[in-house]
């Protein structure tokens, strides 16, 4: 028998009409262009810096290809002085029946090839970084030489996976239902410079079409591992799931995913073909044509960093900080175990203790499914959507 206990608190997935503190930070020390109290808009520049990509890299191509050093120059794909994108082949040769390739580990020009050793030198260049606000807000404080903290009024939706760069744009609703897939034929030039609400999921062809029309971002309920790998394939070579999603996917950092593609993918539920939770879809649909911002944590593991979507107001008002809420009768939530992922339920109790299979007390919540059936689910297996 479950017994009522002090309720655990959840931070809702959708937070409406609140004040948020958003940190915007440079990749390196730089110049801060705003002051506390300044009002900013998404395109407004907050700071700038010169960011070094890294130290010169030496690639021993002769050793990689197992050939004489003086022969290496014949196998370069482009001459010394050329710019190479990360992952692009610098040299290619044949070894027996197999073709072997030496790829650029970072984007950089090939500065030299030493014919005596067969060693190529790549020197990553510094590049300017302009840090934009990406949201409407007011500068709350300055982080010396690195960035600012913005006070932002409006609403926020938490995502679960973010691929790409921070971006913003008017929201375009591309599908009429949360369980609809966005296909390439539904993508048109109206989506240029927009953030597209795409429902359940989308495939590689739709992703490529969005890039082609110049969309800035896309919001989906779920994505497929194989579609992402196909999307990221270079020279028809797909990254393996293991390399892509394990720890920090170094070769496929968000910057790479965005890079030349320039599209940010914001996922609300997880992997697979899962509909977007209806309240999330409904909330977002209600903001069609408004500016929304997709903020993707940087320098973090794609699998553990949580992206956030803001619908920010031009003038932050009020002082309503985000509140963690207790589950109670009527609270709308979604389940997060793989079997029921993204299923929306209505809570019919607070968090209670119930003896589990092994006799140890477990925190559970009584929930009602849309078909009226009720069950106890572990408190750790749900997320509150709206308080």
């Amino acid at each position: 028998m479950a017994s009522e206990r002090q309720a655990a608190a959840y931070e809702p997935v959708i937070v409406r009409d609140a004040v948020f503190y958003v940190e915007r930070v440079l990749d390196a020390d730089g110049e801060i262009l705003v002051r506390p109290g300044d009002r900013v808009e998404p395109a407004g520049q907050l700071a700038s810096a010169m960011v070094a990509e890294g130290r010169p890299l030496l690639l021993n191509i002769a050793r990689e290809f197992d050939m004489e050093p003086e022969a290496v120059s014949r196998y370069l794909t482009r001459p010394v002085g050329s710019e190479f994108e990360e992952g692009e082949p610098i040299a290619r040769a044949r070894r027996g029946l197999r073709s072997v390739t030496c790829r650029a580990p970072v984007s950089a020009p090939l500065m030299a090839l030493d014919e005596a050793t067969g060693v190529a030198t790549l020197v990553p260049q510094s590049h300017p970084q302009q840090l934009s606000a990406a949201v409407y807000g007011e500068v709350e404080s300055v982080i010396e030489r690195r960035g600012v903290s913005l006070r932002v009024g409006g609403s926020r939706v938490d995502g679960i996976i973010g691929l790409g760069r921070d971006t913003y744009g008017p929201l375009k609703v591309a599908v009429d239902r949360a369980d609809r897939e966005l296909t390439a034929d539904m993508v048109d030039s109206d989506f240029r410079q927009s953030i597209v609400l795409a429902g359940m999921t989308l495939g590689t062809s739709a992703l490529r079409k969005l890039i082609e029309v110049g969309a800035r971002g896309v919001i989906v309920g779920s994505i497929s591992d194989s579609e992402v790998r196909r999307y990221l394939a270079m020279d028809d070579r797909e990254p393996s799931s293991m390399i892509l999603w394990r720890r920090m996917p170094a070769e496929f950092t968000p910057q790479h995913m965005s890079g030349s593609h320039g599209l940010t993918v914001f996922v609300t539920e997880g992997f697979g073909r899962r509909r977007m939770a209806q309240p999330v879809f409904q909330f977002l649909s209600g903001h069609e044509n408004q500016i929304v911002s997709l903020l993707i944590p940087r320098d973090a593991d794609v699998m553990s960093a949580r992206p956030a979507l803001y619908v920010s107001r031009e003038r932050p008002s009020g002082d309503e900080a985000i509140q963690r809420v207790a589950v109670r009768d009527g609270t709308l939530a979604r389940l997060t175990d793989p079997e029921h992922l993204a299923m929306v339920v209505t809570c019919r109790s607070g968090v209670t203790d119930s003896p589990g299979k092994t006799g140890v007390l477990r925190e559970v919540v009584d929930v009602e499914f849309s078909n009226g059936t009720r069950t106890l689910v572990p408190a750790t297996s749900l997320e509150v959507l709206i308080p």
């Binding site: 931070e11 890294g54 130290r55 890299l57 030496l58 690639l59 021993n60 050793r63 990689e64 030496c102 790829r103 580990p105 679960i160 996976i161 497929s224 591992d225 194989s226 393996s240 799931s241 293991m242 390399i243 999603w245 394990r246 720890r247 920090m248 996917p249 170094a250 070769e251 997880g270 992997f271 697979g272 699998m303 553990s304 949580r306 997060t336 175990d337 793989p338 079997e339 029921h340 992922l341 589990g356 299979k357 092994t358 006799g359 140890v360 477990r362 689910v377 572990p378 750790t380 297996s381």
Partner: protein
């Protein structure tokens, strides 16, 4: 100051904190009527990760729960009350165990894979460390040893300590590999290098790496591999323990003695092996996978912090998806399975509760544990007579946990019977930590309150046609109930026998079938001291043969798995 060793005095009330990246437990033991007993366990989700990034919240919750349940006050002004007071509040000793801070990140690059590499890999995996081997990275990314691939490996794994094994290959190759490491390793967070090389190659390492890493070196020509592995193991254990005092959330428990989870579990397993003469295996799958085997032929200890059904599920993408899917009693595509693993990694604290999730988890655990055991160099089926399951395994896979464990550990007991017990309170590491400072006290708690029996499983070995009778059995309980029954090949049955009861069992196997490692067709009787003990699932008859084969056609496979599962989920025979 957190102790890592020392001479201890006898205590009454003892608090043990067991913290990992998933669960925080506060375990309270005390002397009750002259005997050391487990009093209560408080438990909370660990809050070291998102969205809290503050371990102390989880610790406070676990401590509060423990105080509520035990009716004792243990904390005052954010410090542990110590020593205990006459009214029962407070404790006399504090221990800390588990994996409270992230495991060490170790990178292993060997230019000459062989025995020494294997021994060192095994040594690292006996410590609380996540090991990333360059060879694995090259295999996953379909590259071979080259400056680019070494750079990619370091970027991906970001080890803080590098173990570099030179081998006897060309010195220039060694130098070239070290030059790449010198140019990028510090950028990716490496600070320490352990060089296993002869004098000449150590000299090269010193020239190339001295400015980049803090180096130590061992010459494999002067030391036996076991000495080298022992030195590396000690170094890594110290390295891990040395990071604890920097964790602010543990300041309130700074008088505590720390024993890492591996050491804790090893102590309990060694105790059960020595004192009770058991050949045993321990399987824990919470925040990493821990396997401890103690038999007459030696011990195997493996900790894989990067592999579990939570945050570590994505590491299992390296396994064959069809191998996992074959254990799931439904049709499941490779994509679906990958998505399941990735969704588990995204929300590792989510508790599964649906039938389908539990079945998938069963398949995942079977293959993950088999993979870990094979990687540890154990190819034979395990000859153990006691298996201790972590509680989380039952949470994750439900009543299928027994079969999941038997399959995962590839168990074939020589005596034909393996007893399965669950660590219901999740206290094995806590008891191990306790035994490091209070061995007699720990022994009493282990004997009084540790294990809950699930049942005794009789394992049949050999080949037969599915559905053919493979044995006749006569069973008589200690209360005089008698029954006779037969078992078919491929069948699993549970015969009720409650905890605390025993039964005499006589088995007449057919000519091609053996009971455990007895001869084929040999009659076996378990009686007297050998009588079988009961538990939650009573006596389990496992007629699936070894190795356990699944039918190749899909429908039969699904039916077979469902039947096996039903044996544990329906009314007992």
């Amino acid at each position: 100051m957190i102790e890592t060793a020392g001479q201890m005095s006898t205590a009454n009330a003892v608090l043990i904190l067991d913290i990992d990246q998933a669960v925080t437990r506060a375990v309270l033991c005390d002397v009750v009527e002259g005997s050391a007993r487990l009093v209560d366990v408080g438990e909370a989700v660990t809050t070291a990760g998102a969205p809290y990034f503050e371990m102390s919240i989880g610790i406070s919750r676990a401590m509060r729960q423990l105080e509520d349940q035990s009716g004792r006050r243990l904390m005052e002004n954010e410090l542990v009350i110590s020593p205990s007071r006459p009214d029962g509040d407070g404790v006399d000793r504090v221990f800390i165990t588990g994996v409270p801070v992230e495991p060490n990140r170790i990178g292993l690059l060997s230019l000459e894979p062989g025995e020494l590499t294997h021994v060192l890999r095994t040594a690292v995996r006996r410590t609380v460390s996540n090991l990333s081997e360059a060879d694995d990275h090259f295999r996953w990314s379909e590259t071979s040893l080259s400056p680019t691939s070494v750079e990619g490996w370091l970027r991906d794994s970001r080890p803080t300590t590098l173990i570099l094994i030179a081998g006897n290959g060309p010195v220039n190759d060694w130098r070239a590999a070290l030059e790449v490491i010198a140019s990028v390793a510090p950028e990716y967070g490496a600070t320490q290098g352990i060089v296993i090389a002869d004098e000449e190659r150590q000299q090269v390492a010193a020239e190339v790496l001295d400015d980049s890493l803090e180096l130590s070196g061992i010459d494999p020509q002067s030391y036996h591999p076991s000495e080298i592995s022992s030195a590396v193991e000690s170094e890594l254990r110290e390295q891990y323990a040395g990071r604890l005092p920097q964790e602010p959330s543990l300041q309130a428990f700074s008088s505590g003695m720390f024993v890492d989870r591996m050491q804790g579990v090893e102590s309990v397993a060694a105790f059960l092996h020595r004192r009770m003469g058991r050949k045993l295996a321990v399987l824990g799958t919470q925040a990493g996978t821990l396997i401890e085997v103690a038999t007459g032929h030696g011990a195997v200890s493996v900790y894989r912090g990067d592999i579990d059904t939570g945050a570590g599920a994505r590491s299992l993408l390296q396994l064959s998806m069809p191998d996992i899917a074959r254990w799931v009693p439904s049709q499941m595509t490779e994509d679906e399975l990958r998505h399941w693993l990735l969704n588990r990694s995204l929300r590792p604290h989510t508790r599964v509760f649906g039938k389908s999730d539990r079945a998938i988890a069963g398949g995942v655990v079977r293959e993950a544990v088999s993979h870990i055991i094979r990687s540890a160099g154990v190819d034979d089926m395990l000859d153990v007579d006691l298996i201790i399951l972590g509680r989380e395994l039952m949470d994750m896979t439900g009543n299928d946990a027994i079969l999941v464990t038997l399959d995962a550990l590839r168990t074939l007991p020589s005596d034909g019977v393996v007893m399965l017990s669950v660590d219901r309170d999740g206290i094995i590491a806590a008891l191990g930590a306790l035994s490091a400072g209070e061995p007699d006290y720990a022994r009493e708690v282990i004997e009084n309150d540790f294990l809950s029996p699930l049942g005794s499983c009789i394992v049949f070995h050999g080949q037969a046609q599915h559905g053919n009778r493979i044995a006749d059995l006569e069973i008589e309980t200690d209360e005089g109930e008698r029954r006779e029954l037969s078992l078919d090949y491929g069948e699993v049955r549970c015969l009720p026998l409650p905890e605390g009861r025993t039964a005499t069992v006589t088995i007449h196997p057919t000519s091609s079938i053996s009971v455990g490692r007895f001869s084929a067709g040999e009659e076996v009787t378990f009686e007297g001291d050998q009588a079988l003990h009961g538990g939650e699932f009573g006596i389990v008859l496992d007629g699936r043969g070894r190795p356990c084969e699944l039918p190749s056609d899909n429908e039969s496979r699904i039916n077979t798995l469902s039947r096996w599962s039903d044996a544990f989920n329906q009314e007992r025979d």
